[in-house]
Every structure is written in structure tokens, then in C-alpha cells.
Amino acid sequence: MSWLICLKGIIWREMLRFYHQRSRLIGALVRPLMWLLVFATGFRAALGVAIAPPYDTYIPYAVYVLPGLVGMVQLFNAMQSSLSMVYDREMGSMRALLLSPLPRWYLIVCKLLAGVAVSIVQAYAFLGVAYLFGDDAPPAGYLSVLPALLLNGVMLGALGLLLSSLIRQLENFAGVMNFVVFPLFFLSTALYPIWKIQEGSEILAQICQFNPFTYGVEMIRFALYGQIDGLSVLVVSGAGALFLVAAVLGYSPSKGLTRLKAG
């Protein structure tokens, strides 16, 4: 029972924090909407997207890019959570969390799930706004995409936690954007299908196939159409488990988490 209360408390605190930081929600929506409403509109004529599963007909580019942008919302939220972990550690407020008598691995998992809950709220907010602009998915897709959002959120959140355990100073976080977020996003199928990338560069296409975010996006894409892409589910689950184990090890007391100065 106490484990559940702890989980509820951490999720509640994360939600409350998210509610207080309204600009975070606006920021989370504006970024993908710019892509959807400006970039996708511009490329509508230039990019023809042929029939490929899960689509059963030719689709406009905005339809193709929608799952990728949902993935983008989750990716940026994971990095935001990671940033706030580094901030909490620098400011000291993470110590309050770690004084809980519950095992540290469990506290890290709770923190991860709290971040995932926020990312799902953001993803649905984005899907809602996109719907208002006419970029929608099948009605049942809004429900069937939920497990995919959960799994993708866990994978990206675990990656964010892992990064936060490795980054020692807030100032170093800018590097994460350049060396993690942008490569993950641009070297994936979020913006173009793999065959389109292959036409331009075989090497880039190969890299995209090794990128776990590619599989997160594909998992969301299929789930939005009520389908399951087995390979994507497998890769995302495996990568998520790997990142989570590494993050838990990174936050082990033996690592001297808070990097205090001697005093």
C-alpha cells in the first residue's frame, strides 16, 4: 500500500508542477504545431507519400507526419523531465525524494512513470489541437494509441533519466539537445518514411533503422490505426528496459548521486 501511495504522490507532484508551468504545455504544443501547420503544409506538394502500412491509400504529408510529431512531443518532454532532474539535484530538492524508505530503484521508476503521465497528457493535447486543425486519425485510434504512448514514454523517459544521471551540471544540458535529441528525431522515420530516406542515402536509412525512436514513432503510427507493429513493440520494450536498468544503476547510492562538496 505504501508503495502505491508513494507512486501517487510523485505523480501528483509532477502533475502539479506541470500545471504551474503553463508555458511548458504551450511550448510542448507550439513546437510540433509549427511542424504540422507550416512545414507539413509547405511540403504537401513536394512530398508524395505512397501507400505503405498502416495506410491503405495515398495520404497527404500532414497525415504521415502526425505520429512523428506525437513522438516529438514525448521526446522533448522526456528531455524536459531529465533537465528538471538535473535541476532538482543541483538545487537539492531531489534529496527529499531519496530520503523515502522505499528502495531507490522504485523511486526512480515512480519518477519515470510521473514523467510518462505528463507526456501522455501533452501528446493528447497535441492530438486534440491537431484534430481542430483538421489533421485527425480514425476515432478509435485515439484510444488504441494509449498503450503505444505509454511504452514510448517509458523508453524515452528512461533515456532521459539515464542522461540526467550522467550529466553533472545544468550548463551541460545544451549538449543533450545537439547530440541526443536532434539526432534521435531527424535520424528517424518521424519526418520521412524509410524508403524516402533510402532514395537519398542508404547510410542514413541504415542509421534510422538502428534508432530506437524510429520504432517508437512506427509503434505510434500503427497504434493510431488500431494495428500493432510487433517489431516496434519489441525494440521499444527492449530499449526501454535497457535504459531503465542503466538509469537505476546511475542513481545508485554507490555513485554518490548528489556530488556534494565535502563540508
Partner: protein
């Protein structure tokens, strides 16, 4: 009866630099113990080990007989902590900060609610319960941190230089409040400080830490009698380069 806190031969290094070396002392149940040491003595490192922010790789730490390495959950349940660096969530209200702490300790609402009321009343925070922590002054923030540290009814309260940044009246009020908690609840308190005027020579126990080692331990009166000098002089000796009492 086991000690509230037993620290046995504890050592810790930051790379090649030794921060603690063979530290041993015990805190009895109930009573106020001051951990006196100048800046850089190793007090915060010791607190990080006692609170398990760092793993204790050399020596052994136990709380009320529970080994911190072997049963950390049982040990941490006995412990309330106020760190030197403020750890409140500034965007949450006073009450929300306490509720969050209660949740982290797995307290169900029926237990947490009356305890929050009790601590708010005891630390005179009832009028500020709906205020965000950000809106409080340093003294009030410290009181909230103490209330939060007590929410799970710990039997040992650790405070790491809790008066840093407070003005003289707020400092005095805080010391009086913690002493009174100690008397009323039979709470054991370990108060780390580098300010000699925070120590009550007639009643407090004293552990003197400097350069990562314990130099003296016992009632403040016994320690001073053994040192053959006053508290101020003892501290001056500690802070002199290369000197140790």
C-alpha cells in the same frame, strides 16, 4: 537499549582526498547532540552517508539497531532530515510540501492529514499553510523543512547547519523550537553547526569533528573539562591551520 545513531569507523574519500577517516561516535535515544566542526570538517559528507545519499563503503552506520547498509528502509524510517541546502519545492504550498513528504513515506491520508495539522500547529505555520514555499522568508522555510522532516514521526532528527542564512532572532527561535521538540517528544537530535553559540553547554552533548576525524565526544561540559578551555577557545584551536585539540 540501542543507540539512536551509531557510527563505527566510517571513512569516505572524494577521489584521492580523504573527507572522513575512522569516524566513530554514538547518539543516545532522546537528547540534543551538537556536531561541532568548522567548514570543511566533513559534517555534510557524514550527513550524506547517514542519509544514504552516498553508500557507506568504509565502516558501519546503524539507526536504532538497523544497519543502514543491510536494511536501509527500516533505518531511514527512523530518520527525519533538514539539509543545509534548502530542499523545499518552491512551487508547492506549505501544505502540499508536507503532503508530498507524507506520500513519499507511504502514509495513508487518514494518518497524514492529522499529522500535517499537528506539525503546522506545532511549528506555528497554520496561517501560512496555503502560501507557496517561494513566498516564505528563510526562517519560515526552515520551519517548513522541520515540519516536513517530522511528518513520519521519526525518532532521530538530523539538521545540517539549519541556521545558515537566518538572522539572529530567527536562529534563536529555531534552536529553542528544536530543543523543545527534543524535550516534549523524546526525539534524538543531531544538530551540525560551526557556531559555538548554538550549543547549550549545560545540557547538550557534543561531538567535535575536524579534518574528517572525531576529536572529542561526550557531554559538552565533559568535553570542555577535558580540553581545559572554553567552547570558543576550543573552536579557535580547531580552525587554526594544522592544529587539533
Amino acid at each position: 537499549m540501542s543507540d539512536a545513531l551509531a557510527v563505527e569507523q566510517v571513512g569516505h574519500s572524494y577521489g584521492r582526498r580523504r573527507a572522513l577517516e575512522g569516524v566513530s561516535f554514538a547518539i543516545p535515544q532522546g537528547g540534543f547532540t551538537a556536531l561541532l566542526g568548522p567548514n570543511g570538517a566533513g559534517k555534510s559528507t557524514l550527513f550524506s552517508l547517514i542519509t544514504r545519499l552516498f553508500d557507506c563503503r568504509e565502516g558501519r552506520i546503524s539507526l536504532f539497531g538497523h544497519d543502514l547498509g543491510k536494511s536501509p528502509g527500516q533505518a531511514l524510517r527512523q530518520l527525519g532530515v533538514v539539509f543545509q541546502q534548502p530542499t523545499l519545492d518552491l512551487d508547492l504550498t506549505v501544505e502540499q510540501n508536507l503532503r508530498y513528504a507524507a506520500d513519499l513515506h507511504g502514509l495513508p491520508s487518514r494518518i497524514a492529514k492529522p499529522r500535517i495539522e499537528r506539525e503546522l500547529a506545532r511549528l506555528e505555520l497554520l496561517p501560512r499553510r496555503k502560501d507557496k514555499a517561494r513566498a516564505l522568508n528563510g526562517g519560515h522555510r526552515r520551519r517548513v523543512e522541520i515540519a516536513r522532516a517530522l511528518i513520519h514521526d521519526p525518532r532521530l532528527l538530523l539538521l545540517d547547519e539549519p541556521t545558515v542564512g537566518l538572522d539572529v532572532p530567527a536562529r534563536k527561535a529555531l534552536i529553542t523550537q528544536v530543543h523543545s521538540l527534543c524535550r516534549q517528544d523524546g526525539l534524538a537530535v543531531l544538530w551540525a553547526t560551526h557556531l559555538v553559540d548554538e550549543i547549550d553547554i549545560d545540557h547538550d552533548r557534543l561531538v567535535v569533528l575536524d579534518k574528517g576525524k572525531v576529536w572529542a565526544e561526550g557531554s559538552a561540559q565533559d568535553v570542555l573539562a577535558a580540553a581545559g578551555c572554553g567552547l570558543g577557545e576550543l573552536f579557535s584551536k580547531l580552525t587554526e591551520e594544522g592544529a587539533a585539540p
